[in-house]
């Protein structure tokens, strides 16, 4: 088990180095740190001096090494638009995105587990068939369209919920949270529903098919033969076995939600990292773009590594040799 964890961490490190390399290459090719620092109203001589001073005339590899070293110390460059270190900007925006992903994951979990299990246990009932039908329509609707429809119905037509922004937020130890005010929560409703809409059908189908497979196994039949209650058989014997594949696939899928935050945040003008990323692209704010790439890359790598390790811990049959 220990060796397995070490190996996963080494692999995660390699992936991070590759991401760092890509990020640095982008920066090296496209970025202009001098402009980022002093703007364009400085003479060519002064710029050249500054270039020398910043080490921009060093070889690619030397600069890459410096980039990595700085990144380790939390320095991912300087955003020329915000006139602040890129990482600070991202950390300011991160809570908005994390709260959105959290709310969406919660919605996905609370709906997909009961619906998936129900439609696996009673596949022939009307509700199950209805849920399956809705879910295939669901996967076919792009997340930005769901978002637009939600805005049109609940904000433009009904005026029930706000259509953009985060609303009132509260500062909790430097974390700007929208979860603690009524206004913040009202603003969160539509974006989180929109974000969950893309993954929800996938989760329902995944849980359903895994559960159906498990229900056919010998050990479930044996559990019936032991005279256990339905509740125990479905919720403990079957569900626990369903969880394993759901966690591996599901963990990765939740990571994928981050990608969809870019779309959701754009539609709702949600001031998170995704919205910031697109603005950075429009403004050619290379440092911020690269910082986003590295931070999101790290997030993915951490999530995946943790999911893998959790999987190893839950599944008693995972041995070091089999991985």
């Amino acid at each position: 088990m220990f060796a397995f964890i070490v190996r996963r961490i080494i692999q995660a490190t390699v992936v991070m180095l590759v991401i760092g390399f890509i990020g640095f290459s982008v920066k090296h090719q496209l970025g202009d740190p001098v402009r980022d620092l002093v703007g364009i109203s400085v003479s060519i001589e002064e710029r050249e001096a500054l270039r020398q001073e910043l080490g921009l005339n060093d070889s690619f590899l030397v600069q890459y090494g410096r980039f990595l070293k700085n990144a380790m110390h939390g320095d991912l460059g300087y955003s020329f638009f915000y006139k602040r270190p890129a990482l600070d900007v991202i950390f300011d925006k991160a809570p908005a995105t994390i709260e959105l992903v959290f709310a969406a994951s919660l919605i996905i979990l609370l709906i997909s587990v009961p619906v998936g299990l129900y439609s696996a246990i009673y596949p022939k009932r009307f509700f199950s068939k209805f849920a399956m039908g809705v879910s295939i329509v669901g996967v076919s609707i792009p997340v930005f369209l769901t978002a637009i429809v939600l805005i049109y119905v609940f904000a433009v037509q009904l005026h029930w919920l706000p259509s953009y922004g985060r609303g009132e937020t509260v500062d909790v130890f430097g974390w700007e949270s929208g979860l603690l005010t009524i206004d913040g929560l009202r603003h969160l409703v539509l974006p989180s529903i929109a974000l969950s809409s893309i993954m929800l059908p996938l989760f329902i189908r995944l849980i359903r098919s895994e559960m159906m497979e498990v229900l056919e196994t010998e050990y479930i039949k044996y559990a019936w033969a032991k005279g256990l209650s339905r509740r125990r058989i479905w919720m403990v014997h079957a569900f626990k076995n369903t969880l394993l594949p759901v966690i591996t696939v599901g963990g990765v899928q939740l990571g994928i939600l981050i990608a969809f935050t870019i779309l959701t945040e754009t539609v709702f003008q949600w001031q998170g990292m995704g919205f910031m990323f697109l603005e950075a692209v429009e403004r050619s704010d290379t440092a911020l773009l690269v910082a986003y790439l590295v931070v999101v890359g790290a997030l993915f790598v951490v999530v995946n590594t943790v999911v893998d390790i959790i999987y190893g811990l839950i599944n008693p049959t995972v041995t070091v040799a089999s991985r």
Partner: protein, 306 residues
């Protein structure tokens, strides 16, 4: 030729197709859409690329059956005064072109990698599959968004928009190849140890020959199944990129960029600008997904989970 047709007529595929109404309707709609995309220049009442024929005075006219509608423009016009129906037909054409192009590209990369990986095994396999895993874990959409953002910065917005179609094909193709690689690898591993491959090796056929003439044909049914789903994914990715302003420009819009352009105007009541392209996109993706589901049930290949 006669026998081939006969064979198809008696095949299980056709039999179950005829029995499945959903599959038949989906197939019909998809065919109509594909034909509409192919013959867009013939079918469209106006040429949306012909700036001379567009009058800005005609902008934001609602669909013809609504009050204030204009009988010249069945589905109304967009903000630039283009006929929405014509623009949608051309947009569908672009979306389909990029979708199919991207799928062909990813299929070539993915099948190649999958074959090599599955057949060679060992270190090569481990490394290639790790790359695929890692890339997949970043989500194809994320990779596509970041790559297109970088490419757009490199080329500059103007050049990017000129080259948008081939660039999007490459970007989406690169983002999605791991799906193919994993599926093909899985079925290669399944086929590899079967007797006929063993036999081919024993009689001394070289490995390339075995891969292409023996293993590949037997891996085709899973490839067929994921291809349908992948076309839907590619069209969706393209729409998402265009919606974010990282795809097709409004002057040569795909369905996604039409929705993007229309979105700004739903608050002012011009709902049709978003509504019709959105419905078109959803139905297009839905019928492909339904067909994919049906194919998966019928061919029942061992697909890679996740």
């Amino acid at each position: 030729m006669q026998t081939k047709r006969q064979k198809f007529k008696e095949s299980y595929l056709l039999y179950s197709f005829k029995r499945d109404k959903v599959a038949m309707v989906s197939f019909t709609i998809l065919t109509i859409f594909l034909l509409a995309a192919l013959f867009a220049p013939v079918l469209a009442p106006y040429d949306p690329y012909d700036t001379a024929s567009i009058d800005i005075m005609d902008s934001e006219i609602p669909p013809s059956w609504v009050a204030d509608g204009d009988s010249r423009f069945f589905l109304g016009t967009d903000i630039m005064g283009r006929d929405l129906l014509s623009t949608m037909l051309y947009g569908l054409r672009i979306s389909v072109m990029i979708g199919i192009g991207a799928v062909i590209l990813q299929a070539i990369i993915g099948i190649g990698v999958g074959l090599v990986s599955g057949y060679m095994g060992g270190k090569v396999d481990a490394i290639l599959m790790r790359i695929a895993d890692v890339q997949l874990s970043f989500s194809t959409l994320m990779v596509a968004i970041i790559v297109s953002a970088i490419v757009q910065l490199t080329f500059g917005v103007g050049r990017y928009e000129q080259l948008a179609v081939p660039l999007l094909v490459v970007i989406i193709g690169i983002a999605e190849w791991p799906q193919y690689a994993r599926t093909v690898r899985a079925s290669v591993l399944g086929e590899k140890n079967k007797e006929y491959v063993e036999a081919a090796r024993v009689i001394g056929l070289d490995s390339k020959r075995i891969m292409f003439s023996h293993i590949l044909p037997n891996s085709l049914s899973p490839v067929l199944v994921i291809s349908t789903v992948q076309v839907a994914n590619a069209v969706m990715s393209e729409a998402a990129l265009s919606f974010l302003g990282l795809g097709m420009p409004v002057s040569r819009p795909s369905i996604g960029s039409l929705i993007n352009a229309g979105f700004e105007y739903i608050f002012s009541g011009a709902w049709w600008l978003t509504f019709f392209p959105a419905i078109l996109l959803i139905i297009f993706i839905l019928v492909i997904n339904l067909l994919g589901d049906w194919l998966r049930d019928v061919l029942n290949p061992k697909l890679y989970k996740g």
